[in-house]
């Protein structure tokens, strides 16, 4: 379903990677590994369509994602490095906005249960500015609990700032989603064993010079 064909990425004068090919089907988990500066985040941004490839293409069901645009983005959930959390809004308001931008409105009860699932149910009416980094990350990741319909999750360092309990919860969410037949691509520096039938790995190696 998600295919990278002869993908090349350059940032400024540096070529981060080139000739990258892979195919990810539903029910498969793909971990992008590599040193800092090796191009993990750039690869995820390429897979989302936020970045234009210097060469090659990314395809979704055989169609170039840069042609599909909104049709592809409507099926994708991307949680980036930045949490997309507003300090002046409450946890529930932030989550509602993230879902609305993703194209679906969510009832207050569903927002509450998603935040509960991530262990921050008691903070739903607190402004994000008083939440810790880990709690803010949990708010961002609570969107996953409301995105079971999405066939593709792309997660950039989802475990950053999370405590051990939250890491377990997110791992379970990823495993369940893959078991439902969806594809998940993620990067992490944490060595984790996520229990899925097919787990693939791409190592981008050392940082490009």
């Amino acid at each position: 379903m998600l295919e990278a064909i002869d993908l090349q990425c350059t940032r400024g004068e540096r070529t981060l990677f080139s000739g990258l090919d892979f195919r990810l089907r539903g029910g498969e988990l793909l971990r992008i590994a590599g040193a800092n500066g090796s191009g993990k985040t750039s690869l995820l941004r390429l897979l989302c369509g936020l970045l234009a490839p210097a060469g090659g293409s990314v395809r979704w069901h055989g169609e170039d994602i840069r042609r599909l645009r909104e049709e592809y983005w409507g099926r994708l959930v991307y949680i980036g490095h930045a949490n997309a959390i507003k300090d002046d809004l409450t946890a529930a308001e932030n989550l509602a906005i993230a879902c609305a931008l993703g194209g679906h409105r969510v009832a207050a009860g569903a927002l509450r249960s998603a935040l509960d699932q991530l262990g921050i149910g008691g903070s739903e009416h607190r402004p994000a500015r008083v939440l810790s980094q880990g709690q803010r990350r949990r708010v961002a990741l609570a969107r996953l609990a409301l995105s079971e319909h999405s066939p593709l999750w792309i997660l950039d360092e989802p475990f950053t700032a999370l405590d051990a309990r939250a890491v377990d919860i997110v791992q379970e969410m990823i495993a369940s989603h893959v078991a439902r037949g969806a594809a998940v691509v993620y990067t992490t520096h944490v060595e984790l064993e996520i229990a899925v039938a097919v787990a693939l790995r791409i190592d981008l190696g050392a940082a490009a010079v």
Binding site: L50, N83, I85, L101
Partner: protein, 222 residues
Amino acid sequence: MLETAVFVIRRDLLLAMRRRSDVLTVLLFFVIVVSLFPLGVGPEPALLRTIAPGVIWVAALLASMLALSRVFAQDYADGTLEQMLLSASPLSVIVAGKVLAHWLMTGLPLVLLAPVLALQFDVPQNFLGELMLSLLLGTPALSLIGTIGAALTLGLRGGGALVALLVLPLYIPVLIIGAGALDAAAAGLGAGAHLLLLGAFLVMAAAFAPWVAAVALRIALE
């Protein structure tokens, strides 16, 4: 699609309510700039009546520009803009929603305040209607054009100064037509033709600016 735009407008208005100082800064800037001129040029009523259209329009234009850098900067910094770019709704629709919210927070209050401030210039009563109407048509056009500049300079060092250099020349037609409408009204010629031109400018800006800004945002985030 429109539902997302409405949601973005509500979100931006909610954020503005929680950060009222941002909106009040623009309004206070407008009040102070307009009020400085009668103090600076003296109390001669004929002179004040002559300069009133230009002063009010230039102040509105500068006040509108003051808030431009905030249209996308905070969403860019916290990662929300990435999510907007990956929305299932077209980015131009989201940008249009943000422009409308920006105008409701910064442009509409200027329209409502302008007649009160115009009293300092001893302008006739019948001038106030045309003043409000010209600003009602002109300030959304300023927000639309300004959004293009804000998108083009997003993430650049010294973006605030650059946006002024980019946007001010583009504001000139609106300034000439808007101030011209008030001059015509003051001369008893009627402001109809100028207001129609402003309306046409607004329609053209509404048709193209969100689309151009959306393209600029995609380039800025690459």
